[in-house]
Protein backbone atom coordinates (compact mmCIF):
# COMPACT_ATOMS: atom_id res chain seq x y z
CA UNK A 1 0.00 0.00 0.00
CA UNK A 2 1.34 3.40 -0.97
CA UNK A 3 2.12 5.69 1.91
CA UNK A 4 -0.64 8.19 2.59
CA UNK A 5 0.35 11.79 1.85
CA UNK A 6 -1.19 15.18 2.50
CA UNK A 7 -1.11 17.63 -0.39
CA UNK A 8 -0.75 21.31 0.60
CA UNK A 9 -1.16 24.14 -1.90
CA UNK A 10 0.32 27.31 -0.45
CA UNK A 11 0.08 30.88 -1.70
CA UNK A 12 3.55 32.35 -1.19
CA UNK A 13 5.23 35.71 -1.47
CA UNK A 14 8.82 36.54 -0.46
CA UNK A 15 8.16 39.85 1.22
CA UNK A 16 5.78 42.78 1.60
CA UNK A 17 7.27 44.66 -1.34
CA UNK A 18 7.76 41.73 -3.65
CA UNK A 19 4.37 41.16 -5.30
CA UNK A 20 6.17 39.74 -8.34
CA UNK A 21 7.17 36.72 -6.23
CA UNK A 22 3.54 35.81 -5.52
CA UNK A 23 3.02 32.17 -6.50
CA UNK A 24 1.31 28.92 -5.62
CA UNK A 25 3.51 26.02 -4.54
CA UNK A 26 2.40 22.47 -3.75
CA UNK A 27 3.90 20.11 -1.20
CA UNK A 28 3.27 16.47 -0.36
CA UNK A 29 3.91 15.61 3.28
CA UNK A 30 3.60 12.21 4.95
CA UNK A 31 0.28 11.71 6.75
CA UNK A 32 0.38 11.21 10.49
CA UNK A 33 -2.44 10.52 12.93
CA UNK A 34 -3.98 13.64 14.59
CA UNK A 35 -2.18 15.86 12.10
CA UNK A 36 -3.22 19.50 11.74
CA UNK A 37 -2.26 22.25 9.30
CA UNK A 38 0.56 23.51 11.56
CA UNK A 39 2.14 20.07 11.95
CA UNK A 40 1.94 19.56 8.19
CA UNK A 41 3.66 22.93 7.70
CA UNK A 42 6.34 21.72 10.13
CA UNK A 43 6.87 18.76 7.83
CA UNK A 44 7.33 21.14 4.91
CA UNK A 45 9.89 23.03 6.96
CA UNK A 46 11.85 19.83 7.60
CA UNK A 47 11.87 18.93 3.93
CA UNK A 48 11.09 21.98 1.78
CA UNK A 49 10.72 20.18 -1.53
CA UNK A 50 7.74 20.90 -3.76
CA UNK A 51 5.57 18.17 -5.21
CA UNK A 52 7.43 18.47 -8.50
CA UNK A 53 10.80 17.95 -6.80
CA UNK A 54 12.17 21.49 -6.49
CA UNK A 55 13.95 22.47 -3.28
CA UNK A 56 12.65 25.87 -2.14
CA UNK A 57 12.89 28.18 0.85
CA UNK A 58 10.73 26.72 3.63
CA UNK A 59 7.22 28.18 3.99
CA UNK A 60 6.90 30.55 6.95
CA UNK A 61 3.88 30.91 9.22
CA UNK A 62 3.05 31.99 12.77
CA UNK A 63 1.72 29.95 15.65
CA UNK A 64 1.98 29.91 19.40
CA UNK A 65 -0.58 28.33 21.69
CA UNK A 66 -1.66 25.48 19.37
CA UNK A 67 -5.02 25.38 21.10
CA UNK A 68 -7.01 28.19 19.50
CA UNK A 69 -6.53 30.79 22.20
CA UNK A 70 -3.86 33.11 20.80
CA UNK A 71 -5.00 33.69 17.23
CA UNK A 72 -1.46 33.82 15.82
CA UNK A 73 -2.00 31.00 13.33
CA UNK A 74 -5.05 32.55 11.62
CA UNK A 75 -5.01 32.04 7.84
CA UNK A 76 -7.31 31.12 4.99
CA UNK A 77 -7.75 27.37 4.85
CA UNK A 78 -9.64 26.09 1.82
CA UNK A 79 -11.02 29.53 1.08
CA UNK A 80 -12.27 30.29 4.59
CA UNK A 81 -10.54 32.10 7.40
CA UNK A 82 -9.83 30.13 10.59
CA UNK A 83 -7.12 29.05 13.03
CA UNK A 84 -4.85 26.57 11.31
CA UNK A 85 -3.71 24.88 14.53
CA UNK A 86 -7.16 23.42 15.06
CA UNK A 87 -7.69 22.62 11.37
CA UNK A 88 -7.35 18.83 11.61
CA UNK A 89 -6.24 17.23 8.37
CA UNK A 90 -8.61 14.27 8.74
CA UNK A 91 -11.52 16.68 9.07
CA UNK A 92 -10.69 19.17 6.32
CA UNK A 93 -9.39 16.61 3.82
CA UNK A 94 -10.85 13.23 4.84
CA UNK A 95 -10.25 11.74 1.39
CA UNK A 96 -6.85 13.25 0.71
CA UNK A 97 -8.19 16.41 -0.98
CA UNK A 98 -5.74 19.23 -1.74
CA UNK A 99 -5.62 21.73 1.13
CA UNK A 100 -5.14 25.35 0.09
CA UNK A 101 -3.46 27.77 2.48
CA UNK A 102 -3.44 31.54 1.96
CA UNK A 103 -2.51 34.48 4.17
CA UNK A 104 -5.30 36.78 5.32
CA UNK A 105 -6.02 39.53 2.78
CA UNK A 106 -7.14 42.38 5.04
CA UNK A 107 -3.77 42.92 6.72
CA UNK A 108 -0.37 43.88 5.31
CA UNK A 109 1.53 40.82 4.21
CA UNK A 110 4.88 40.07 5.87
CA UNK A 111 5.85 36.89 4.09
CA UNK A 112 4.15 33.68 2.90
CA UNK A 113 1.43 32.99 5.48
CA UNK A 114 2.42 35.73 7.93
CA UNK A 115 0.54 39.02 8.06
CA UNK A 116 0.87 42.05 10.31
CA UNK A 117 -2.21 42.48 12.47
CA UNK A 118 -1.06 45.62 14.28
CA UNK A 119 -4.04 47.53 12.86
CA UNK A 120 -6.20 45.57 15.27
CA UNK A 121 -4.05 46.55 18.21
CA UNK A 122 -4.09 50.19 17.09
CA UNK A 123 -7.88 49.99 16.90
CA UNK A 124 -8.05 48.74 20.49
CA UNK A 125 -5.91 51.67 21.59
CA UNK A 126 -8.06 54.05 19.61
CA UNK A 127 -11.26 52.95 21.36
CA UNK A 128 -9.51 52.80 24.75
CA UNK A 129 -10.30 49.14 25.30
CA UNK A 130 -9.18 49.18 28.92
CA UNK A 131 -10.26 50.34 32.36
CA UNK A 132 -8.47 53.58 33.27
CA UNK A 133 -6.39 53.84 36.42
CA UNK A 134 -5.78 57.37 37.61
CA UNK A 135 -2.81 56.65 39.86
CA UNK A 136 -0.92 53.98 41.72
CA UNK A 137 -2.32 54.87 45.14
CA UNK A 138 -4.86 52.68 46.97
CA UNK A 139 -8.36 53.38 45.63
CA UNK A 140 -10.25 50.82 47.68
CA UNK A 141 -12.42 48.14 46.13
CA UNK A 142 -14.06 48.96 42.79
CA UNK A 143 -17.80 48.88 42.27
CA UNK A 144 -19.39 45.44 42.33
CA UNK A 145 -20.33 43.87 39.03
CA UNK A 146 -23.74 42.20 38.95
CA UNK A 147 -24.13 38.57 37.95
CA UNK A 148 -26.14 39.66 34.91
CA UNK A 149 -23.44 42.11 33.87
CA UNK A 150 -20.77 39.43 34.22
CA UNK A 151 -22.72 37.01 32.09
CA UNK A 152 -23.02 39.56 29.32
CA UNK A 153 -19.37 40.58 29.57
CA UNK A 154 -17.65 37.21 29.80
CA UNK A 155 -18.23 36.00 26.23
CA UNK A 156 -17.01 39.36 24.91
CA UNK A 157 -13.80 39.09 26.90
CA UNK A 158 -12.81 35.93 25.02
CA UNK A 159 -11.75 37.87 21.90
CA UNK A 160 -8.16 36.94 20.95
CA UNK A 161 -7.75 39.64 18.26
CA UNK A 162 -7.27 36.89 15.69
CA UNK A 163 -8.72 38.89 12.79
CA UNK A 164 -11.15 36.27 11.40
CA UNK A 165 -14.07 38.68 11.71
CA UNK A 166 -12.25 41.45 9.82
CA UNK A 167 -11.11 39.05 7.14
CA UNK A 168 -14.67 37.86 6.47
CA UNK A 169 -16.26 41.32 6.67
CA UNK A 170 -17.10 42.72 3.21
CA UNK A 171 -17.01 46.24 4.64
CA UNK A 172 -13.39 45.96 5.80
CA UNK A 173 -11.16 46.55 2.79
CA UNK A 174 -8.66 48.89 1.23
CA UNK A 175 -11.33 51.35 0.07
CA UNK A 176 -13.00 51.72 3.48
CA UNK A 177 -11.82 52.87 6.87
CA UNK A 178 -14.18 50.63 8.80
CA UNK A 179 -12.66 49.69 12.15
CA UNK A 180 -14.31 46.25 12.04
CA UNK A 181 -16.39 44.21 14.47
CA UNK A 182 -13.73 43.16 17.02
CA UNK A 183 -13.00 46.65 18.38
CA UNK A 184 -16.72 47.55 18.38
CA UNK A 185 -17.40 44.51 20.54
CA UNK A 186 -14.64 45.58 22.94
CA UNK A 187 -16.34 48.96 23.27
CA UNK A 188 -19.47 47.14 24.36
CA UNK A 189 -17.38 45.13 26.85
CA UNK A 190 -15.68 48.13 28.45
CA UNK A 191 -18.83 50.25 28.40
CA UNK A 192 -20.48 47.48 30.42
CA UNK A 193 -17.78 47.45 33.08
CA UNK A 194 -18.74 49.45 36.20
CA UNK A 195 -15.45 51.40 36.13
CA UNK A 196 -14.90 51.24 32.37
CA UNK A 197 -18.29 52.93 31.98
CA UNK A 198 -16.79 56.21 33.14
CA UNK A 199 -15.24 56.63 29.70
CA UNK A 200 -18.19 55.30 27.72
CA UNK A 201 -18.89 58.59 25.95
CA UNK A 202 -15.29 58.89 24.77
CA UNK A 203 -15.38 55.40 23.26
CA UNK A 204 -18.69 56.11 21.56
CA UNK A 205 -17.37 59.32 20.10
CA UNK A 206 -14.44 57.44 18.60
CA UNK A 207 -16.87 55.01 17.01
CA UNK A 208 -18.88 57.96 15.68
CA UNK A 209 -15.79 59.07 13.79
CA UNK A 210 -14.87 58.08 10.29
CA UNK A 211 -14.84 54.31 9.80
CA UNK A 212 -16.88 53.85 12.96
CA UNK A 213 -19.81 51.63 13.82
CA UNK A 214 -22.11 53.13 11.15
CA UNK A 215 -19.99 51.53 8.42
CA UNK A 216 -21.24 48.05 9.31
CA UNK A 217 -23.25 46.69 6.35
CA UNK A 218 -25.13 44.06 8.36
CA UNK A 219 -23.67 41.12 6.43
CA UNK A 220 -23.18 39.13 9.67
CA UNK A 221 -20.19 37.20 8.35
CA UNK A 222 -18.20 38.23 11.41
CA UNK A 223 -20.38 36.31 13.83
CA UNK A 224 -20.40 33.27 11.54
CA UNK A 225 -16.60 32.99 11.45
CA UNK A 226 -15.66 34.08 14.99
CA UNK A 227 -13.96 31.02 16.54
CA UNK A 228 -14.82 32.28 20.02
CA UNK A 229 -18.52 32.54 19.17
CA UNK A 230 -18.61 36.12 20.33
CA UNK A 231 -22.04 37.66 19.66
CA UNK A 232 -20.58 40.33 17.39
CA UNK A 233 -23.86 41.23 15.71
CA UNK A 234 -25.45 41.82 19.10
CA UNK A 235 -22.44 43.94 20.09
CA UNK A 236 -22.64 46.05 16.94
CA UNK A 237 -26.37 46.60 17.42
CA UNK A 238 -25.86 47.44 21.12
CA UNK A 239 -23.15 49.95 20.31
CA UNK A 240 -25.34 51.31 17.49
CA UNK A 241 -28.06 51.92 20.05
CA UNK A 242 -25.56 53.64 22.36
CA UNK A 243 -24.30 55.87 19.54
CA UNK A 244 -27.84 56.68 18.40
CA UNK A 245 -28.67 57.79 21.95
CA UNK A 246 -25.44 59.70 22.21
CA UNK A 247 -26.12 61.44 18.89
CA UNK A 248 -29.69 62.39 19.84
CA UNK A 249 -29.31 63.17 23.52
CA UNK A 250 -25.56 63.43 24.19
CA UNK A 251 -25.60 67.21 24.10
CA UNK A 252 -28.38 67.26 26.72
CA UNK A 253 -26.33 65.25 29.17
CA UNK A 254 -23.20 67.33 28.83
Amino acid sequence: MAKRVVRLKVLRQDGPHAPETKRWEEFDVPWEPQMNVISSLMSVQKNPVTADGKTVAPVVWESSCLEEVCGACTMIVNGKVRQSCTALIDQIAPNGEVITLEPMTKFPLVRDLIVDRSTMFESLKRVKAWVNLDGSHELGPGPRQSQENQEEAYPLSRCMTCGCCLEACPQVNATSKFIGPAAISQVRLFNLHPSGKMHAAERLETLMGEGGVADCGKAQNCVEVCPKEIPLVDSIAQVSRQTTKHMLFGWLLK
Binding site: S118, G209, G217, Q220
Partner: protein, 257 residues
Protein backbone atom coordinates in the same frame (compact mmCIF):
# COMPACT_ATOMS: atom_id res chain seq x y z
CA UNK B 1 -1.84 39.43 -1.95
CA UNK B 2 -3.06 41.87 0.65
CA UNK B 3 -5.26 43.98 -1.63
CA UNK B 4 -7.51 44.54 1.37
CA UNK B 5 -4.82 45.81 3.68
CA UNK B 6 -4.53 49.46 4.56
CA UNK B 7 -2.38 51.91 6.41
CA UNK B 8 -2.39 52.27 10.18
CA UNK B 9 -3.32 55.92 10.37
CA UNK B 10 -6.36 55.84 8.11
CA UNK B 11 -8.74 57.44 10.55
CA UNK B 12 -9.97 60.84 11.71
CA UNK B 13 -12.45 61.83 14.41
CA UNK B 14 -14.52 63.69 11.80
CA UNK B 15 -18.22 63.26 12.55
CA UNK B 16 -19.39 63.95 8.99
CA UNK B 17 -19.30 60.37 7.70
CA UNK B 18 -21.34 59.18 10.66
CA UNK B 19 -24.01 61.81 10.20
CA UNK B 20 -24.19 61.19 6.45
CA UNK B 21 -24.60 57.48 7.13
CA UNK B 22 -27.40 58.17 9.57
CA UNK B 23 -29.07 60.52 7.12
CA UNK B 24 -28.75 57.90 4.38
CA UNK B 25 -30.36 55.31 6.59
CA UNK B 26 -33.16 57.65 7.67
CA UNK B 27 -33.98 58.97 4.18
CA UNK B 28 -34.25 55.35 2.97
CA UNK B 29 -37.22 54.86 5.31
CA UNK B 30 -38.75 58.33 5.48
CA UNK B 31 -39.50 59.82 3.09
CA UNK B 32 -38.25 57.54 0.29
CA UNK B 33 -39.56 54.22 1.65
CA UNK B 34 -42.83 55.77 2.74
CA UNK B 35 -43.22 57.24 -0.73
CA UNK B 36 -42.63 53.83 -2.32
CA UNK B 37 -45.52 52.36 -0.32
CA UNK B 38 -47.77 55.32 -1.14
CA UNK B 39 -46.83 55.14 -4.81
CA UNK B 40 -47.54 51.42 -5.18
CA UNK B 41 -50.80 51.92 -3.29
CA UNK B 42 -51.96 54.78 -5.52
CA UNK B 43 -51.06 52.86 -8.65
CA UNK B 44 -53.04 49.87 -7.47
CA UNK B 45 -56.22 51.97 -7.72
CA UNK B 46 -55.90 51.32 -11.45
CA UNK B 47 -57.25 47.86 -10.66
CA UNK B 48 -60.57 49.63 -10.17
CA UNK B 49 -60.46 51.10 -13.68
CA UNK B 50 -59.37 54.37 -15.21
CA UNK B 51 -61.92 56.57 -13.41
CA UNK B 52 -60.68 55.45 -10.03
CA UNK B 53 -57.04 55.78 -11.07
CA UNK B 54 -57.52 59.29 -12.50
CA UNK B 55 -59.30 60.25 -9.32
CA UNK B 56 -56.32 59.12 -7.23
CA UNK B 57 -53.87 60.93 -9.52
CA UNK B 58 -55.98 64.09 -9.37
CA UNK B 59 -56.00 63.83 -5.59
CA UNK B 60 -52.21 64.08 -5.67
CA UNK B 61 -52.30 66.91 -8.20
CA UNK B 62 -54.45 68.90 -5.76
CA UNK B 63 -51.76 68.93 -3.05
CA UNK B 64 -50.89 72.59 -2.52
CA UNK B 65 -47.45 73.64 -3.77
CA UNK B 66 -46.94 70.19 -5.28
CA UNK B 67 -43.65 70.92 -7.09
CA UNK B 68 -42.10 72.19 -3.86
CA UNK B 69 -43.44 69.27 -1.83
CA UNK B 70 -42.18 66.79 -4.41
CA UNK B 71 -38.76 68.38 -4.58
CA UNK B 72 -38.27 68.64 -0.84
CA UNK B 73 -39.77 65.34 0.19
CA UNK B 74 -39.08 63.05 -2.74
CA UNK B 75 -36.50 64.23 -5.26
CA UNK B 76 -33.96 65.69 -2.86
CA UNK B 77 -33.91 62.82 -0.34
CA UNK B 78 -34.07 60.19 -3.10
CA UNK B 79 -31.19 61.79 -4.98
CA UNK B 80 -29.13 61.98 -1.81
CA UNK B 81 -29.91 58.38 -0.84
CA UNK B 82 -29.22 57.10 -4.35
CA UNK B 83 -25.97 58.99 -4.95
CA UNK B 84 -24.56 58.22 -1.53
CA UNK B 85 -25.84 54.64 -1.92
CA UNK B 86 -23.91 54.15 -5.14
CA UNK B 87 -20.82 55.54 -3.43
CA UNK B 88 -21.31 53.15 -0.48
CA UNK B 89 -21.84 50.21 -2.82
CA UNK B 90 -18.52 50.89 -4.46
CA UNK B 91 -16.83 50.45 -1.07
CA UNK B 92 -18.14 46.94 -0.63
CA UNK B 93 -15.96 43.93 -1.26
CA UNK B 94 -18.51 41.13 -1.56
CA UNK B 95 -17.33 37.61 -0.76
CA UNK B 96 -20.37 35.35 -1.11
CA UNK B 97 -18.31 32.79 -3.03
CA UNK B 98 -16.48 31.82 0.16
CA UNK B 99 -18.90 32.94 2.86
CA UNK B 100 -22.27 31.74 1.60
CA UNK B 101 -24.42 32.81 4.56
CA UNK B 102 -27.87 34.17 3.84
CA UNK B 103 -27.21 37.57 5.47
CA UNK B 104 -24.11 37.92 3.34
CA UNK B 105 -26.26 37.34 0.25
CA UNK B 106 -28.72 39.91 1.54
CA UNK B 107 -25.81 42.35 1.94
CA UNK B 108 -24.80 41.84 -1.70
CA UNK B 109 -28.40 41.96 -2.95
CA UNK B 110 -29.00 45.19 -1.02
CA UNK B 111 -26.27 46.78 -3.14
CA UNK B 112 -27.32 45.18 -6.43
CA UNK B 113 -31.00 46.06 -5.98
CA UNK B 114 -29.97 49.59 -4.99
CA UNK B 115 -28.20 50.10 -8.29
CA UNK B 116 -30.98 48.34 -10.25
CA UNK B 117 -33.61 50.48 -8.56
CA UNK B 118 -31.59 53.57 -9.39
CA UNK B 119 -31.48 52.65 -13.09
CA UNK B 120 -35.15 51.70 -13.10
CA UNK B 121 -36.16 55.00 -11.49
CA UNK B 122 -34.29 56.86 -14.24
CA UNK B 123 -36.20 54.98 -16.98
CA UNK B 124 -39.46 55.41 -15.11
CA UNK B 125 -38.91 59.14 -14.62
CA UNK B 126 -38.21 59.52 -18.32
CA UNK B 127 -41.43 57.67 -19.19
CA UNK B 128 -43.86 59.54 -16.98
CA UNK B 129 -42.22 62.68 -15.70
CA UNK B 130 -39.72 64.12 -18.12
CA UNK B 131 -41.97 63.52 -21.10
CA UNK B 132 -44.78 65.17 -19.17
CA UNK B 133 -42.64 68.29 -18.99
CA UNK B 134 -41.22 68.12 -22.47
CA UNK B 135 -44.28 67.14 -24.47
CA UNK B 136 -47.08 68.17 -22.14
CA UNK B 137 -48.28 64.64 -21.43
CA UNK B 138 -51.53 64.95 -19.47
CA UNK B 139 -52.29 63.03 -16.31
CA UNK B 140 -55.41 61.47 -17.90
CA UNK B 141 -53.18 59.94 -20.50
CA UNK B 142 -51.14 58.06 -17.88
CA UNK B 143 -53.61 55.21 -17.75
CA UNK B 144 -53.89 54.50 -21.50
CA UNK B 145 -50.15 55.15 -21.91
CA UNK B 146 -49.35 52.63 -19.17
CA UNK B 147 -51.64 50.07 -20.75
CA UNK B 148 -50.07 50.56 -24.17
CA UNK B 149 -46.57 50.63 -22.79
CA UNK B 150 -46.66 47.69 -20.41
CA UNK B 151 -48.43 45.41 -22.88
CA UNK B 152 -45.83 46.06 -25.56
CA UNK B 153 -44.64 42.75 -26.96
CA UNK B 154 -41.52 42.45 -29.11
CA UNK B 155 -40.38 39.12 -30.51
CA UNK B 156 -42.99 37.44 -28.34
CA UNK B 157 -41.55 38.94 -25.16
CA UNK B 158 -43.52 41.46 -23.07
CA UNK B 159 -40.22 43.16 -22.34
CA UNK B 160 -41.54 46.40 -20.90
CA UNK B 161 -43.82 44.58 -18.49
CA UNK B 162 -40.88 42.44 -17.42
CA UNK B 163 -38.72 45.54 -16.94
CA UNK B 164 -41.37 47.01 -14.65
CA UNK B 165 -41.78 43.77 -12.71
CA UNK B 166 -38.02 43.64 -12.13
CA UNK B 167 -38.01 47.31 -11.14
CA UNK B 168 -40.81 46.82 -8.61
CA UNK B 169 -39.20 43.64 -7.25
CA UNK B 170 -35.83 45.25 -6.74
CA UNK B 171 -37.24 48.41 -5.14
CA UNK B 172 -39.38 46.35 -2.78
CA UNK B 173 -36.58 43.95 -1.83
CA UNK B 174 -34.28 46.89 -1.24
CA UNK B 175 -36.83 48.61 0.96
CA UNK B 176 -37.83 45.53 2.97
CA UNK B 177 -34.25 44.39 3.54
CA UNK B 178 -33.33 48.00 4.20
CA UNK B 179 -35.86 48.10 7.03
CA UNK B 180 -34.10 45.14 8.64
CA UNK B 181 -30.82 47.05 8.35
CA UNK B 182 -32.41 50.24 9.63
CA UNK B 183 -33.59 48.49 12.78
CA UNK B 184 -30.06 47.20 13.37
CA UNK B 185 -28.22 50.41 12.62
CA UNK B 186 -30.40 52.55 14.86
CA UNK B 187 -30.20 49.99 17.66
CA UNK B 188 -33.89 49.06 17.58
CA UNK B 189 -33.17 45.32 17.25
CA UNK B 190 -30.20 44.74 19.54
CA UNK B 191 -29.79 40.98 19.30
CA UNK B 192 -29.30 38.65 16.40
CA UNK B 193 -32.54 36.89 17.33
CA UNK B 194 -34.46 40.15 17.22
CA UNK B 195 -32.90 40.82 13.83
CA UNK B 196 -34.00 37.49 12.42
CA UNK B 197 -37.52 38.15 13.70
CA UNK B 198 -37.37 41.52 11.94
CA UNK B 199 -36.26 39.71 8.79
CA UNK B 200 -39.37 37.51 8.88
CA UNK B 201 -41.66 40.45 9.63
CA UNK B 202 -40.30 42.71 6.90
CA UNK B 203 -40.03 39.73 4.56
CA UNK B 204 -43.78 39.19 4.80
CA UNK B 205 -44.38 42.93 4.46
CA UNK B 206 -42.15 43.07 1.38
CA UNK B 207 -43.87 40.09 -0.18
CA UNK B 208 -47.31 41.67 0.22
CA UNK B 209 -46.01 44.98 -1.14
CA UNK B 210 -44.54 43.16 -4.12
CA UNK B 211 -47.83 41.37 -4.83
CA UNK B 212 -49.59 44.73 -4.81
CA UNK B 213 -47.11 46.32 -7.22
CA UNK B 214 -46.85 43.24 -9.44
CA UNK B 215 -50.62 43.00 -9.70
CA UNK B 216 -50.80 46.54 -11.04
CA UNK B 217 -48.10 45.85 -13.63
CA UNK B 218 -49.80 42.61 -14.66
CA UNK B 219 -53.14 44.37 -14.91
CA UNK B 220 -51.80 47.03 -17.27
CA UNK B 221 -49.93 44.39 -19.26
CA UNK B 222 -52.65 41.78 -19.62
CA UNK B 223 -55.84 43.15 -18.10
CA UNK B 224 -56.02 40.41 -15.46
CA UNK B 225 -56.73 41.31 -11.87
CA UNK B 226 -55.00 38.38 -10.30
CA UNK B 227 -55.73 38.55 -6.65
CA UNK B 228 -57.68 41.76 -6.17
CA UNK B 229 -61.03 41.50 -7.94
CA UNK B 230 -62.58 44.96 -8.02
CA UNK B 231 -66.04 45.40 -9.50
CA UNK B 232 -66.43 44.75 -13.19
CA UNK B 233 -64.95 47.79 -14.84
CA UNK B 234 -63.56 46.98 -18.24
CA UNK B 235 -59.95 45.96 -18.48
CA UNK B 236 -57.67 48.41 -20.23
CA UNK B 237 -57.27 47.62 -23.88
CA UNK B 238 -53.87 47.68 -25.43
CA UNK B 239 -54.93 50.41 -27.78
CA UNK B 240 -56.41 53.43 -26.01
CA UNK B 241 -60.20 53.43 -26.32
CA UNK B 242 -61.88 56.17 -28.39
CA UNK B 243 -62.99 58.22 -25.39
CA UNK B 244 -59.44 58.86 -24.26
CA UNK B 245 -57.88 58.86 -27.69
CA UNK B 246 -58.43 62.58 -28.18
CA UNK B 247 -56.31 63.50 -25.19
CA UNK B 248 -53.77 60.78 -25.43
CA UNK B 249 -52.77 60.21 -29.01
CA UNK B 250 -50.53 62.54 -30.89
CA UNK B 251 -48.91 64.61 -28.15
CA UNK B 252 -48.22 61.73 -25.83
CA UNK B 253 -47.41 58.94 -28.23
CA UNK B 254 -43.87 59.04 -27.12
CA UNK B 255 -42.01 60.40 -30.09
CA UNK B 256 -38.89 58.57 -28.99
CA UNK B 257 -40.28 55.10 -29.12
Amino acid sequence: MSEGARALTAWTPDRRAFLLRKLHSLTGVVPVGAFLVEHLWTNATALGGQAQFDEAVLGIQRIPMLPLVETLFIFAPLTFHAVYGVWLSRQAKPNVAHYTYSRNWAYLLQRITGVLTFLFILVHLWDYRIQKWLYGMTTESFYPELARHLSDVRYGIPWYGILYLVGVASAVFHFANGLVGFCASWGITTTRRAQSRATVLFGVFGFVLFLLGANTVLYFATGTRLYIPMGDTPAPSCAPDPSTRSSSTSPTRSPVR
